[in-house]
Amino acid sequence: MDTIFILEKSLIILTVFAITMLIALYSTFGERVFAAYFQDRLGPNRAGPLGLLQPLADGVKMFTKEDFIPDTPNKFLFIFGPFLFMTTALITSSVIPWGDKLEIMGRTVYLQAADINVAVLFVLGIVSIGVYGIMVGGWASNNKYSLLGAVRASSQMISYEIAMGLSIISVLMVSETLSLRGIVEKQHGFIDWSGKFPWFSWYVFKQPLAFLIFLVCAFAETNRTPFDLPECESELVGGYHTEYSSMKLGFYLFAEYINMFISSAIISLLFFGGFNYPGMDWVKQQLGTNAATLIGVGAMFAKTLFGIFFYMWVRWTVPRFRYDQLMNLGWKVLIPLAILNIVITGAVIILSGN
């Protein structure tokens, strides 16, 4: 393992970390701007030009608030909760391919921190670990309402994990690989000419049902409206972070935006072709590999940012579910649909003969 390789990977990891933070930071701003737009208000416009410094002002506010720790026998776990939630939110970005390869001075640089061949399972594993941040924090708060909020949040998350995993299986049956880069490369270009009749190569056109199920589950996993029961401020007591204040609360809220960004990235990888875009082979011939790759990175981020916008759009469009409706939808609708989708996909694969 040579030094350049380690340097290259460290650089990619740091860049991805910085970009994730930046996008999550401006998602909080974007959310307020879009909320204002949907409600016909002006929105934040005081701090800096067009209100662009608003996230910094929010950060300063969070840091300078009183850091209150409740009377709990588990002070360490109380601090450990937000830390764990933030870590699990950030760690998933390590397997996401942000772009194809660059050729710099004879070296081929893949724009990805680690291309492991169980990347999809890795993502599912980290998602299932994310529950602990909420449970530990809610329990260590030594408050009944926090504990109930934590149980509410984590039972929602583990219920929707199942449907999420099952909906991915049908995608894996088509892609025949568990590597996220492999899945993206299978969706090469925009039109797939290899079959008997040409069809769009992106999996959203090949697996529309899986896409819908995954989308709903992603909303539930990130605790966004219409599934934001873990923390619906207007109706229930805060949720698992009732006792948190200052930057520890900031970590919980900020990790939610990171989760939004990462899940949008995963959706664009699995269903919208990631860094593929129409006419990429032509661009590669005309402008060379590096230019084509950079446009691909742009396409990837455009899809991801649209995903984040979609989260905000839905938030101000669809009303919140009731808790029993949420559980019924997860267990009695989405899981059977996902299993049906697996059966249909298997039947189609066998009938089409490959």
Binding site: F122, L124, V151, E161
Partner: protein, 173 residues
Amino acid sequence: MHNFTLLLFLILSSLAIFCGLMTVFSRNPIHSALFLIGCFFAIAGHYLLLSAQFLAIVHIIVYAGAIMVLFLFTLMLMNLNEETEQHKPALAKIGAVISAGMLMLVLVAVFKRAVLAPPPPYQDFSIGTIETLGKVLLNEFLLPFEFASVLLLTAMIGAVLLAKKQNPNTNQA
């Protein structure tokens, strides 16, 4: 490179042993459960050192991600703490110490006589990948694999039946 692997092995082993001991010695059941999760992660790290990626990830998903979450659920809702813990009689404690010590004796005797298998001459990095595992499971070990899944299905249906409340108004069992 070899030293680096050895260092990782030592770190993971000490972490696993520490978490295992703390699982037993913690007074608070929730701390025990959290240390057990730490232990699972250390063991998953060992699987990675043996280049069994699939096993490592599935170990985390199944044990840390699913089973321990349900454990924590139950523990948190039962609200066990040191005051409610019932005290065992002294005789039971002495009996437990003696039987555990005898188990230790047996284990030590076994391990003293054990012959260490020589390490494999080369390490095949593709042995733990999901492709290899899938081919082996669905060709060579298809029957045991199917039996295991049927067994799991049976256990699941059984658990659902046990958990289902019997409605006294209907005559159906």
